[in-house]
């Protein structure tokens, strides 16, 4: 837009960055708190930067709390869910994007509808179903429940990735004598791979952050994922150790930061799913 001189640029950057700092402050404060010794938290006035930097809370978290177990459960849950969902959704999205059959349009709308559906409506029948099947309180039941939101999301995202692959590529393969399935594996799949990878990462995030299903469907401590596990550490504690909880918060955000770095390019499509035309 309007051209600015170097001074204008510097002043504007300063202004914009102070807003960014304000938004990022709570997360910055989380990291700072996790590095302070417990007694420094109660200092008046509070120290902005830790006077003594300590990693004792991280050590304690790993050695003396069930945090590593929760972490392992979350990893199994998030990877299991994304893997299962991606396989099913890739086939489904291919079908929605490149085949014609009665009810296809209706199906696409159904996907969008379920993407908006509140979990609390599904959770009671799902809970009763899991109890009836005898699989309540297992990670498997949670994975199954997670597909109720992860599958519509993945389908919706993958459909837009798949639809952007030009028809000509598949046609050329078919003219060369490949069957539809051969064309899918040799032509479509390699083309869609970046989309498939980023969709699976987004699904991973959804599963990693989920709370409500885990709260209702799992009440054995040994199988809790991080979300309900860490909250359990908060509510069952005799006196709340904030620096320990902040350390736990940092640790459970680390995998997300790694994923975030990989996703930079597709952030708009994934996060804006439903709001931005993919």
């Amino acid at each position: 837009m309007s051209r600015r001189g170097p001074l204008g640029f510097a002043l504007y950057s300063l202004f914009a960055w102070s807003i960014v700092a304000l938004v990022a402050f709570p997360l910055l404060w989380m990291v700072v708190t996790s590095l302070k010794p417990q007694n420094e938290l109660f200092r008046r006035p509070p120290t902005i930067l830790p006077q003594i930097v300590t990693f004792e809370h991280y050590v304690k978290l790993i050695l003396e709390t069930p945090f590593p177990i929760y972490f392992r459960n979350s990893v199994i849950l998030a990877i299991g869910t994304s893997f299962a969902v991606i396989v099913v959704a890739t086939l489904g999205a291919h079908s929605l994007a490149r085949f014609a059959y009665p009810g296809r349009r209706f199906l696409a709308q159904l996907v969008l509808f379920t993407y908006l559906l509140p979990s609390v409506v599904l959770i009671i029948p799902l809970y009763m179903l899991m109890v009836w099947l005898g699989i309540a309180n297992t990670l498997f039941s949670l994975m199954l429940a997670y597909t109720s939101f992860a599958l519509p999301f993945a389908l919706w995202l993958l459909r837009s990735f798949m639809a952007s692959i030009p028809d000509d590529l598949e046609h050329a393969a078919l003219v060369d004598g490949a069957s539809r399935m051969e064309a899918f594996f040799d032509v479509i799949l390699p083309q869609a791979l970046p989309g498939i990878i980023s969709t699976s990462l987004f699904t991973f995030i959804l599963a990693w952050n989920e709370y409500l299903y885990a709260l209702v469907l799992l009440n054995r401590d040994a199988w809790r994922p991080l979300t309900t596990g860490v909250i359990n550490m908060l509510t069952s504690a005799f006196n709340i150790e904030w620096s320990l909880l902040m350390a736990a918060s940092v640790m459970m955000s680390v995998p997300l930061i790694v994923v975030f770095a990989f996703l930079q390019k597709h952030l708009t499509q994934g996060f804006g799913a439903g709001g931005v035309k993919g």
Partner: protein, 295 residues
């Protein structure tokens, strides 16, 4: 759109979508229908046994204050947090659209609250809100804005205001993403033409930017309204519906009826009523989305 080739192979297409349909039926369609059916029973949560009561769950709920108080809290929360999300989201998107130092890093940092788990967001904010050692009270006291530490979560209307603020902080990045993506597609020539006509920065915003953002804003507002309305995690973890039941929105009421009051039938009835309210937003969303797809 579809080539003759596509039509010939519709059987394969159906086979590829079959696993999806199967899972959809098991984890979405069945529970949805089941919720409608269960709402006509009284079901004890511990034993999962119950008796047919017809529509009495509905008549009881609609006749008692608890449902209407929940709906009211739900609408206050949704409207409050939605307005802040949209206003801050659009402003932040405009800000990040301009040239600045380390712009991509700034964009990444702004997106972060949306990215992290609600559990983490709530833990961090509960620590910020802490009445004795929280930094928020300390800074406000220091600035002379308050003379006594504020009880952010334990009294009304503070609890609702805190919720609305944290909700806005957590979810405004969604608006930023959508608006930023749209801003990048507005042709520069429109601004140049407006400048030649003598339009200042404000006039350019009203006459060029805002009309261009209209379609994406409609979709984003509806989508966020739906998602905010059904929000459970943030409210449950931050206030738990309290103090008493003043922030107990409908999703929390469902949980409360099912697992504290131990009646899955009544909980299902609340869920169904909640869906009925949401259908208004959903229909509007479908209409707008369909229109966008066509254009």
């Amino acid at each position: 759109m579809t080539s003759p080739l596509d039509r010939r192979n519709h059987l394969l297409g159906a086979m590829l979508i079959a696993p999806t349909i199967l899972i959809f039926c098991a984890v979405i369609v069945y529970p949805l229908v089941s919720a409608l059916y269960l709402s006509l029973f009284r079901i004890a949560t511990p034993t999962l046994t119950g008796a047919w009561v017809g529509f009495s769950n509905y008549t009881e709920l609609l006749g008692s204050g608890i449902f209407w108080r929940g709906l009211r809290a739900n609408l206050v929360w949704t409207a409050g947090t939605l307005v802040l999300q949209i206003v801050f989201g659009v402003l932040a998107a405009l800000m990040l659209h301009q040239n600045m130092l380390f712009r991509s890093l700034a964009r990444a940092l702004i997106l972060f609250p949306y990215f992290i788990s609600t559990v983490v967001a709530v833990l961090v904010w509960r620590w910020l809100f802490n009445d004795l050692y929280g930094i928020l009270n300390h800074l406000l006291l220091l600035a002379g804005l308050i003379d006594m530490p504020v009880d952010w979560l334990g009294s009304m209307p503070n609890a609702m205001i805190s919720l609305v603020l944290v909700g806005a902080w957590k979810y405004f990045p969604f608006v930023v993403i959508a608006v930023l993506a749209r801003l990048q597609t507005i042709p520069e020539t429109l601004y140049e033409a407006a400048s030649i006509d003598g339009a200042g920065p404000l006039a350019r915003f009203w006459d060029v930017t805002l009309p261009q953002l209209r379609s994406v804003l409609v979709i984003v507002i509806l989508l966020r309204a739906i998602w905010d309305f059904k929000e459970f995690d943030l409210i449950f973890l931050l206030t738990g519906g309290g103090p008493i039941d003043s922030t107990q929105t409908l999703p929390l009421l469902v949980y409360q009826e099912a697992f504290s009051m131990q009646d899955m039938g009544r909980a299902s009835a609340v869920a169904v009523l909640m869906m009925a309210v949401m259908l208004v937003f959903m229909t509007a969303y479908f209409r707008s989305y369909g229109r966008q797809e066509e254009s």
